[in-house]
């Protein structure tokens, strides 16, 4: 980079529009804690997944027809007649799942190492905004192939808004653009599904801005004391991220090429039919824990509120967690409850995948109560009563064993 700036023209240009200095500052010299572990790879992987979705999505959109009578056929045409259309479509459909996998791991990293705590609250909020936008995008994307699950998933989820008192019904009709999920719904979902990923890009820029302003958290969760705590991003983390991207792409390729429909639902290969309701309407796997919370509450409005609260509660996390220690490494009690929460989420996932009958009903209710208990009661109490292990003096000190 420095060598480039020796060139007279490039120096002249950079002086007027400092793209090179900017890149150098933010992507090369940018100081990163020297002790980041592989849990810090998931941010760059989420970025990679977003780019993959946008690139494959734009090409899919060149061949896709957003009309209730033609959408299903056009997706089949992509699968059969468009050159490498099957590859594009399977990349996009499995890419959405992998996007959620890395983002959920990215969030779990934040929960474990206390990355949401001061001074990174806004960074955390922006991440949650990205999650909400991703959910909306994926939900509307799943409607586009206009299969049975597309149609009935859209019907179930949009119907949730009818739980709102008084204005619920009009809101649902406004969302649908009619009196049922139909062509108007499909058209607006396509438009929004095209738009929202670019809104996500915008929020990602803010997310990274906030990150570079306050710098990365690290596995020890302690503040940096001086330059000895840092190493330049390039080449150390560029190469580490490249290695992580390789591993990610291998796992992605295994699903993409050898089990491309494993994470999808077979019913979505049946064209949408408003007259035939599928036996079990299940959302994509990444929505299952939230779907379980929705169904755990016997009251419709209550269920919707609980589902909304399960995400919005995360916005309050920086204040619900009363401990000043960030990293779970030094929090012997919190550490256990972190894993309990993870297990609880998996249990909720299973509850969401199974029909709301038999023991799944009480199980999902217990798991839902525990989810909120964790954030509203346990976290504040643990913070007050836990005796943290002693923190090291600096990032560099235990590392350099000085």
């Amino acid at each position: 980079m420095q060598a480039l700036l020796n060139n007279g023209f490039i120096r002249w240009f950079d002086n007027r529009l400092p793209v090179l200095s900017w890149t150098n500052h933010h992507m090369m010299e940018y100081p990163a804690p020297r002790n980041l572990n592989y849990a810090w790879n998931f941010g760059s992987l989420a970025g990679l997944a977003l780019v993959l979705q946008i690139v494959t999505g734009i090409v899919l959109a060149m061949h896709y027809t957003p009309h209730a009578d033609m959408a299903f056929d056009s997706v089949e045409r992509i699968m059969r007649d468009v050159n490498y259309g099957w590859l594009l479509r399977y990349m996009h459909a499995n890419g959405a799942s992998f996007f959620f996998i890395v983002v959920y791991l990215h969030i779990a990293r934040g929960l474990y190492y206390g990355s949401y705590k001061a001074p990174r609250e806004v960074l955390w909020w922006l991440g949650l905004v990205i999650l909400l936008l991703m959910m909306a995008t994926a939900f509307m994307g799943y409607v586009l192939p206009w299969g049975q699950m597309s149609f009935w998933g859209a019907t179930v989820i949009t119907n949730l808004f009818s739980a709102i008192p008084l204005i619920g019904e009009p809101i649902v009709q406004w969302l649908w653009g009619g009196f049922a999920v139909g062509n108007a719904t499909l058209n607006r979902f396509f438009s929004l599904h095209f738009l929202l990923p670019f809104v996500i890009v915008g929020v990602v820029v803010l997310h990274l801005w906030a990150l570079h302003h306050k710098k990365s958290n690290n596995p020890l969760g302690i503040d940096y004391k001086g330059p000895q705590d840092f190493i330049p991003f390039h080449p150390y983390y560029t190469i580490k991220d490249a290695f992580g991207a390789g591993v990610f792409l291998i796992l992605f390729a295994i699903f993409l090429f050898y089990a491309p429909n494993y994470m999808g639902h077979p019913d979505n290969y049946i064209p949408a039919d408003p007259l035939v309701t599928p036996a079990h309407i299940v959302p994509e796997w990444y929505f299952l824990p939230f779907y379980a919370i929705l169904r755990a509450i016997p009251d419709k409005l209550g269920g919707v509120l609980a589902m909304g609260a399960s995400i919005f509660i995360l916005f309050l996390l920086p204040w619900l967690d009363t401990s000043r220690i960030r990293s779970a490494t030094f929090r012997p009690v919190f550490k256990w409850f972190f894993w309990l929460l993870m297990i609880d989420l998996v249990v909720l996932g299973f509850c969401g995948a199974n029909p709301p009958e038999g023991f799944w009903v009480p199980l999902s209710q217990v798991a839902t109560v525990y989810y909120f208990l964790h954030f509203l009661i346990l976290l504040p109490l643990i913070g007050w009563f836990e005796r943290p292990r002693p923190l090291p003096d600096s990032i560099a000190k235990p590392v350099l064993k000085a």
Partner: protein, 252 residues
């Protein structure tokens, strides 16, 4: 740290496994298909036999609207053979100069038409049940080809008679009853290659054919996948070596 990632990954992967919770149907036995596995490919001879079963039996009730006649070249038919097969089918043509609808012989670029002019006619001829288009049925049912094979090859009782509702008992069908009369009986078709046309043979062959109809790009997918993954393994290995080398002098 490794434990952290591994346990999280394990947790996350458990969930989708249960997403396809099956109903009260019997689980079909697993058949060893030639297209299973990393190196799986379609067995051309089997697909051609399956095509014969489809044309000879299933096509009386089921269409195959996403499969064009010319697609059959991919399973080993010549251009002329494709033309000859297409010529057996009639499809809607343009309106004539009086504005009246016409029909014409199908051409290679046409798809296998449904034998019925519309769904209502199809229902009327089948006791109210719709014989679905079969192009995607190998992907739209859990266990795909295993399911089709079991449904038509194993599920019906011998000399099955419909119940009072006109439905046949078949434990592989959701709900245990199906409107389709047992489609296969021994020697329902005569195979061009002399293979004995038992019910087991025909149900296996037509299931493989329907898998091809649903996923015609399977072979390309698996072949490209192998190359991509090998390439990624080398690339990732190189990244790992570079990473080790670059970080060798950094205490972390």
């Amino acid at each position: 740290m490794k434990r952290f990632i591994l346990s999280l990954a394990a947790l996350a992967f458990l969930v989708p496994a249960t997403a396809h919770a099956a109903g009260d149907q019997e689980v079909p036995p697993e058949h060893h298909w030639s297209f299973n596995g990393i190196f799986g490919t379609y067995d051309r001879a089997q697909l051609l036999r399956g095509l014969e079963v489809y044309r000879g039996v299933c096509a009386n009730c089921h269409g195959l609207k996403y499969v064009r006649f010319r697609d059959l070249e991919a399973i080993g038919l010549s251009e002329d053979e494709v033309k000859a097969i297409a010529a057996n089918y009639t499809v809607e043509g343009d309106v004539d100069s009086f504005g009246d609808p016409t029909t014409r012989e199908a051409k290679p670029f046409d798809a296998f038409p449904s034998p019925f002019p519309n769904d209502e006619a199809a229902r009327a001829s089948n006791g109210g049940a719709l014989p679905i288009d079969l192009s995607l049925v190998a992907k739209s049912r859990v266990h795909g080809p295993d399911y089709i094979h079991a449904l038509i090859g194993l599920g019906y009782e011998e000399n099955a008679e419909p119940g009072p509702t006109g439905l046949y008992h078949n434990p592989y069908m959701a709900g245990g009853y199906i409107a389709m009369p047992p489609p296969l009986f021994d020697d329902a078709v005569e195979y061009h290659d002399g293979t004995a046309a038992t019910v087991e043979q025909m149900s296996t062959d037509v299931s493989a054919f329907l898998m091809w109809a649903a996923e015609p790009k399977l072979e390309a997918r698996k072949a490209i996948g192998l190359k991509v993954i090998l390439f990624l393994l080398v690339l990732t290995g190189l990244f790992y070596v570079c990473k080790r080398k670059l970080w060798a002098n950094v205490e972390h």
